[in-house]
Assembly symmetry: C2
Homo-oligomer: 218 residues x 2
């Protein structure tokens, strides 16, 4: 690294970023069992990844293991949680308090991973000024004014498909740069924005297809 | 294809399976706007995929477009929904009625995509014989007996990480072959079982990292 770069700001390979939470979950499990040290070989065996890959992935995180001794579990957990952004609360607004949107408002577990949904917005008048799981829900028209005080950095999109792009444009116009898109619609954003797609229905399609193959083999 | 294979039973490449729901969402949107035909070029432009890739993906589905005219939207929607398994209800049981588990029970939208959660199970006595969103919740000890009559084909895992493997083994022992794993734990299953991992927290980690880069650039 020639330029001075702070590790959490490096653009990590997505596969690495997706594996690190697996490592974290496993190491926390070991901690719960009273263990204090773990080797990359142990992690590798558990996660079914090559030991060299585990060592490489962990080299991005600011933590070093010792030969034969491995990593100190406490240190590794703290480093991973910090590196993955789970220790800082990122304020998020949720758009579309329908079935999936309300479900996400119910998931208090997200907070443990650094995501704090501070408000929901919907175009239905009947939902305005209500609350779900203690999180206030406002009419969408209030979004620009509310954002001024809420100052959220993430927009969660759970609107119907035909409103996905309009809502995206609206969120971007208010200066929010990161979008977590749960709709099966491919939203378009400016180059300096971040989109994370979590299409549960695409995951279902993959699972149904694989299940069909198994049932066919019987 | 030399052997006689029914398309839905073919093992499709996962990227194709993940793109097909994007196509479906877009084509349904066009239908809502009163359109009756769509070309693969139009789909390609909208989804930001090469037109040849769209044509190839759609060739797996039992539907053919005509040169210059494209696909009939009604036919394409029906073919995609059928092919993706969204028209048949797959019965699922959910394990772990905590924050995320209860959230999924609240998401009635899954039904429209072919997933019907028929019961939830938990080890907490206080949750036994309650219901979430009309879906009954039983104590985990009732699972084997309930499964005999419910005959579900999918198990959804939303238990705490330290119980993920035990619950997985229990589900597999009762003959369920497809597991939708929402925990950040890498569960192990027999070779003839299917696992779909949806680790929302891994998606969060990717988003936080990308957002950190943007903020750093400012």
């Amino acid at each position: 690294m020639n330029q001075e770069q702070i590790p959490p700001v490096m653009k990590l390979p997505e596969p690495t970023l997706r594996r690190l939470p697996w490592y974290l979950a496993f190491v926390k499990l070991l901690k719960g069992k009273g263990k204090t040290r773990v080797s990359s070989t142990q992690i590798a065996r558990e996660i079914s990844v090559a030991p060299s890959q585990v060592a490489k992935d962990l080299s991005f995180v600011n933590v070093s293991g010792k030969t034969r001794v491995g990593y100190e579990i406490e240190t590794l957990i703290a480093a991973l949680e910090n590196f993955l952004g789970f220790t800082v609360q990122h304020k998020a607004l949720l758009f579309g308090v329908g079935s999936l949107g309300a479900a996400l408002l119910h998931d208090s577990g997200l907070k443990q991973y650094g995501l704090e949904i501070v408000a929901g917005f919907d175009i239905r008048e009947s939902l305005a000024d209500t609350a779900v799981n203690g999180i206030p829900v406002f009419h969408l028209r209030e979004f620009p004014a509310r954002q001024k005080t809420l100052d959220a950095t993430i927009g969660i999109i759970t609107v119907p498909v035909d409103q996905a792009q309009d809502v995206t444009d609206h969120i971007i116009a208010e200066g929010i740069k990161a979008l977590w898109n749960f709709t099966p619609f491919r939203i378009r954003v400016p180059q300096d924005a971040v989109v994370q797609n979590t299409s549960m229905y695409a995951h279902l399609a993959v699972m149904f297809n694989r299940l069909g193959i198994i049932n066919h083999r019987k």
